[in-house]
């Protein structure tokens, strides 16, 4: 059925069919028809990542190396994996389009220029490091060396990653939970706000990292101290955001809920909190970025484990390749965590953009 509609032209749609349109089909119907030239251009752009991938490969293989390069095939493998992943994505999109679902291919077309740029960036980086040494070796190691060392040292890197994640989530969730409790009670009760507000006003402007030296001296264990610092930062962000969210609830919603028989407990949990959700989740996102900063500083300054510590330790042994490997792992996990948070946010707040399941 859906395939049939999307193949129809504008004129041959009768009234009955219009009744069963999906959002995607509607968009296709109303879109201006693309000219042959535009279509060809779209396909060229979608093929571009392959071209750039091959350019990156050729650059690595053809341009003579400036210095030594052990295990040269690792980087080739890495590029092949990236190109292969794009190939699978590409084939999947084309198959989907043949089945009538154009959205996936549109997304691919949207992402293709960025992915092409990624390959070019890899090629440029390789040229600046391994080939010419404009970025001095071994201080800025080439990609091949970074991937090699990450693989050799993988067991230790994983241990450190797990340690970082454990510390991050422990501190973050404690902070978010306490932040929700204080924020919501403050937003709701004037008396609690009276006592808590000065604390927030006083502690708020102090950057989290300021606490680190103090905590390192006072705390019984460095791990606990780090948890405290991360929790403190998250607590602050979430408290402020949920407090504003709750106290900004439109009074009319409370009136309406009261005439509908909501108890005062229900006014909090069924009206105030859902209404403040956008603000609360905003606070959670902010808390995560503050937690990411805090954990790195804590690990670099005191805690004897985790990726931050690994980086610092690698630096002191002049193992710059390890340092960069850890940097990429940090990049990767923080991106993943932020992405996950964003997905949760979109799911919870789907009423805001009016997206129907």
């Amino acid at each position: 059925m859906s395939a049939k509609i999307s193949q129809n032209t504008k004129n041959s749609i009768d009234k009955d069919q219009l009744g069963h349109l999906t959002r995607q089909q509607l968009k296709e119907l109303e879109e201006k028809k693309k000219t042959g030239w535009q279509k060809a251009l779209d396909w060229m752009i979608m093929v571009l990542p392959f071209v750039c991938g091959i350019v990156a490969m050729l650059e690595y293989w053809m341009v003579p190396n400036g210095g030594s390069n052990d295990n040269p095939y690792t980087y080739v493998g890495f590029l092949v994996v990236l190109i292969g992943a794009y190939l699978i994505y590409f084939i999947y999109s084309v198959v989907k389009k043949a089945g009538g679902d154009k959205a996936v291919l549109d997304m691919l077309r949207y992402r293709a220029p960025l992915l092409s740029a990624l390959f070019l960036l890899l090629a440029a980086y390789d040229y600046l490091t391994l080939k010419t040494g404009i970025l001095t070796q071994p201080f800025v190691p080439c990609m091949n060396a970074i991937i090699n060392i990450a693989w050799i040292d993988r067991a230790y890197l994983i241990t450190c990653t797990l340690h970082t994640l454990r510390l991050l989530f422990l501190g973050y969730f404690i902070g978010v939970f306490l932040g929700l409790v204080t924020g919501i009670t403050c937003g709701y009760s004037e008396r609690v706000r009276y006592w808590v507000n000065p604390v927030i006003k006083f502690l708020g402007p102090i950057p989290t990292s300021t606490w680190i030296p103090i905590v390192m001296v006072v705390a019984t264990s460095l791990f606990k101290g780090a948890v405290f610092i991360i929790a403190l930062g998250s607590w602050f962000a979430v408290t402020v955001a949920s407090m504003t969210g709750i106290s900004n609830v439109d009074k009319d919603f409370f009136d309406a809920a009261r005439t509908l028989g909501a108890s005062s407990r229900q006014l909090v949990f069924r009206v105030a909190i859902p209404h403040a959700m956008p603000s609360i989740l905003q606070g959670c996102t902010q808390a995560m970025s503050s937690a990411c900063v805090a954990i790195m500083i804590a690990e670099m300054m005191g805690v004897k484990a985790g990726l931050g510590w690994y980086m610092n330790w690698a630096k002191s042994w002049t193992a710059y390749d390890k340092m960069f490997a850890a940097l990429f792992v940090i990049c990767f996990i923080f991106t993943m965590v932020t992405k996950a948070l964003d997905l949760i946010k979109r799911r919870v707040l789907r009423w805001q953009n009016g997206v129907v399941k």
Partner: protein
């Protein structure tokens, strides 16, 4: 017709508000005496500041009178209750709940949703929005949102229906449609309906009784029975006479 016959009595009710910016107090309502019964559709009209909305909020139990008392069947009103359903000018639908869940909100709050799902279904059917059940209020037009809000307060089968300028924000055509829809629902159930409006035509078109109010301080200056059957002709002579009489009471002198 109605499940329960009720009588609503306001005895010498005054309500004053303290101003936020200074120490002054405004007298929104001054010594109001009213007696209303089930089966009546009472329109409250008057200029802004005459305290007509205040009466509604008092009856709803959202605010307490400064002096005097308000009783339903002799029992004083102390807090809001689903037995006195209220509809606001702004739809106040909860934007995070779907249409269906908005309508079911009241039942859910009272723990009565289990076993009453068909009531929600019925309400959706009455307003013809079954296919919108999973939509969020942000996706609805103003008229649809007000229909849903009406059903949300009617699901409790309230004895008293309070309408606070429910159609004030709608366009003229939607407005006339909804006037008839509300009348139909009220005629079926025969509750006591109490509607605030600033539109004299609407007051005459819908009410069995029009209470005219004036401001400074808020007081009743007229209580007019509309002895006309439904549906009413907006251009008939009697209709125009009623309207002129109300305007006269408010010193906006009509033709006579």
């Amino acid at each position: 017709m109605a499940e329960k016959q009720v009588s609503l009595v306001l005895e010498n009710v005054s309500k004053s508000f303290a101003k936020v910016e200074n120490d002054e107090v405004t007298h929104a309502l001054n010594a109001i005496d009213l007696s209303l019964r089930s089966g009546e559709f009472v329109s409250l009209v008057g200029p802004s500041g005459c305290g007509k909305s205040t009466i509604l909020r008092l009856v709803a139990g959202l605010i307490m009178p400064t002096t005097g008392k308000i009783t339903v069947d002799g029992k004083e009103i102390t807090e809001p209750s689903p037995e006195r359903g209220m509809m606001f000018q702004k739809s106040t639908l909860f934007p995070w709940l779907t249409v269906e869940k908005n309508i079911a909100f009241s039942l859910k709050m009272q723990g009565k949703l289990k076993g009453n799902e068909e009531k929600v279904e019925h309400m959706l059917k009455v307003i013809g929005l079954e296919s919108f059940r999973n939509d969020y209020p942000g996706q609805l037009s103003g008229g649809m949102a007000q229909r849903v809000a009406l059903m949300r307060s009617l699901i409790n089968e309230p004895d008293i229906l309070l309408l606070d300028e429910p159609l004030g924000a709608l366009d003229a055509f939607t407005r006339m449609n909804m006037q008839d829809e509300i009348l139909k629902i009220w005629q079926e159930k025969g509750q006591l309906a109490l509607m605030v409006t600033h539109d004299v035509d609407e007051a005459v078109y819908m009410g069995t009784r029009v209470i005219v109010m004036d401001s400074n301080p808020g007081r009743v200056v007229g209580d007019i029975k509309i002895a006309e059957g439904y549906p009413r002709d907006r251009s008939s002579n009697t209709f125009v006479e009623y309207r002129n009489e109300i305007l006269n009471r408010l010193h906006f002198g009509g033709r006579n």
